[in-house]
């Protein structure tokens, strides 16, 4: 039998980070991701790497900034309110073209909200989040296995584009235990080998400068256009999506993360009842897999988007359909979990 270990989602993120070559972790406690910081406190020290419990979320993201600036693979993790606090630092990192991995184990909001799993930070994650004109790759795991795999891969993506990457999970995925297959690869990819922009002392070479303050006439526009080309490359190369049963489907469910698992359950039950239901699960929330949605608008009778929010990703689905196919929504908010029975009922109602 394949070698599986039973692992908590939060721990899987930590281990994935380590296997992705994380050299420095900076955290600050918040439920439901405390086990992650706790795990790193032990594992980073075991691996003789840097672990700091920062004095605040702001300090943690700025430590990631600093570590990245000297060429280290660095990560910080938090949950929704803490991620809001990090947004200034993330914006600066994008402006300075600094890679780094930020993990959001989402909880209920707005404000301090509650500690239940939720998906209310989709807009924040996929629209930049901080001030300015930018995007980040956003990865959305739907299992403990993917918590591990995607966090590991996030480090490569961050270095590849010199841009921060967000892993967007939630409290349920963070807290649950599931069997995981640990795949170990050489974490240091080619991208990290040639960081010719880091500030590691200029003895014997020309000084370098990394900054986001670009005051000269037209300098910032030129810089942003350059970044824009980078976002275009991400859009072209990094879209990831899982689809199932779309060939004969009349209705496609669209969900990410923990909601996608609920969609899969609903799809199976509907199929047993003879209702033709398919699934679209975005794995990258940005870039959004709009192509697979657009390709299916003529064949499908409707899309039904399932989220643990008042409706955020549903806007991207509507944009992708471009008005050519009806888009329905069912969501729960504030820690509520969409119910399989309700999803099946909605599908039946749509097809009536």
């Amino acid at each position: 039998m394949e070698n599986r270990i039973l692992m908590q989602g939060n721990h899987a993120v930590g281990e994935g980070g380590l296997q992705g070559g994380c050299q420095a972790y900076f955290g600050y406690p918040i439920t439901p991701q405390n086990e992650l910081t706790q795990y790193m406190a032990k594992r980073m020290v075991e691996e003789r790497k840097v672990f700091i419990q920062a004095e605040s979320e702001l300090a943690a993201i700025n430590m990631v900034f600093g570590a990245s600036l000297v060429g280290a693979r660095a990560m910080t993790t938090s949950s929704s309110p803490g991620i809001s606090l990090k947004q200034e630092g993330i914006s600066y990192m994008v402006g300075c073209e600094l890679p780094g991995v930020i993990v959001n184990i989402q909880r209920g909001g707005p404000g301090l909200g509650n500690i239940a799993g939720a998906q209310g930070d989709y807009f924040q994650a996929t629209r930049g989040g901080g001030h300015g004109d930018y995007y980040l790759i956003v990865l959305a795991p739907d299992s403990v296995q993917e918590m591990y795999d995607l966090t590991r891969e996030a480090f490569d993506l961050a270095d590849k584009y010199r841009n921060p990457v967000i892993v967007l999970a939630d409290g349920i995925l963070g807290q649950m235990l599931e069997p995981v297959k640990i795949v170990k690869k050489n974490p240091m990819s080619n991208f990290s080998a040639k960081k010719d922009w880091i500030l590691d002392g200029c003895k014997g070479r020309k000084p370098r400068m990394v900054r986001s303050l670009l005051m000269g006439e037209g300098v910032l526009e030129e810089h942003n256009l350059k970044l824009g080309k980078k976002y275009e490359r991400m859009r072209k190369s990094e879209v990831r999506v899982e689809t199932d049963n779309l060939e004969d489907a009349e209705v496609a469910l669209v969900g990410y993360g923990i909601s996608a698992r609920i969609c899969k359950e609903a799809m199976e039950i509907a199929r047993q009842k003879g209702i033709k239901v398919g699934l679209v699960r975005p794995i990258t929330l940005w870039p959004f897999p709009e192509k697979v949605i657009a390709e299916n608008v003529d064949r499908l009778k409707a899309f039904l988007v399932i989220e643990m929010s008042l409706g955020q990703m549903v806007e991207d689905v509507r944009l992708a359909t471009n008005g050519k196919c009806p888009v329905y929504f069912y969501g729960r908010t504030g820690g509520g979990i969409p119910e399989v029975d309700v999803i099946v009922e909605r599908i039946e109602k749509i097809l009536k």
């Binding site: 039998m1 599986r4 039973l6 439920t31 439901p32 500690i115 409290g171 349920i172 807290q175 649950m176 235990l177 599931e178 069997p179 923990i258 698992r261 609920i262 969609c263 899969k264 359950e265 609903a266 199976e268 979990i337 119910e339 399989v340």
Partner: protein, 177 residues
């Protein structure tokens, strides 16, 4: 095959431990499994519960509203969850901590004096293993041997000294079905 188990009791009764152990044994049986704890403000004396789903098919949400089995370690847990158990489901209750008579329709109820049995073994803290042993015997979802093996792994090197007592308690529960 699909089993949805909610295990509940006081914080400190080893609810999370028993749930993790069951999940581990199910994984070793080659099945799909999820474990989801209540988390946050739980502490010793408060309430704690966890949900374990075991299936030979893919598992969607690790959270269930209506479990097929409830393992209730005290009266308040029984009151909280008993009405949610599915029709023809199973409730195993720690009758040592039960004062009221219980009557729930369309559900099989198994009373195990887990705390008393654990005390006889030398420590009331292993009442969780007694209840789990009874569940394993009744459900046959994992084997006792597999659970015994998993116990060693879940306890780990640091708590090796507790292995014997926990194994005895599992066996005791398994016999007291």
């Amino acid at each position: 095959m699909r089993e949805e188990i909610i295990m509940a009791g006081f914080g400190g009764q080893g609810i999370m431990f028993a749930g993790t152990l069951l999940a581990h044994a199910a994984m070793e049986e080659g099945l799909n499994v999820t474990y989801f704890p209540s988390y946050g403000a739980e502490m010793r004396g408060g309430t704690a519960n966890c949900t374990v789903i075991i299936s030979d098919e893919n598992i969607g949400s690790p959270v269930v509203t209506n479990p097929s089995a409830l393992l209730a370690m005290n009266e308040s847990s029984l009151e909280k969850f008993s009405s949610k158990v599915k029709k023809d489901g199973l409730i195993i209750v720690n009758s040592s901590l039960l004062k009221k008579e219980i009557k729930i329709n369309d559900v099989e109820i198994l009373k195990i004096p887990a705390t008393e049995l654990a005390e006889k073994l030398g420590d009331n803290k292993v009442a969780n293993m007694v209840i789990l042993g009874a569940y394993i015997n009744r459900s046959k979802v994992v084997s006792l041997e597999r659970t015994m093996d998993s116990l060693k792994k879940v306890l780990g090197e640091g708590r090796k000294n507790l292995l014997k007592l926990n194994r005895e308690a599992l066996k005791k529960g398994e016999e007291n079905r």
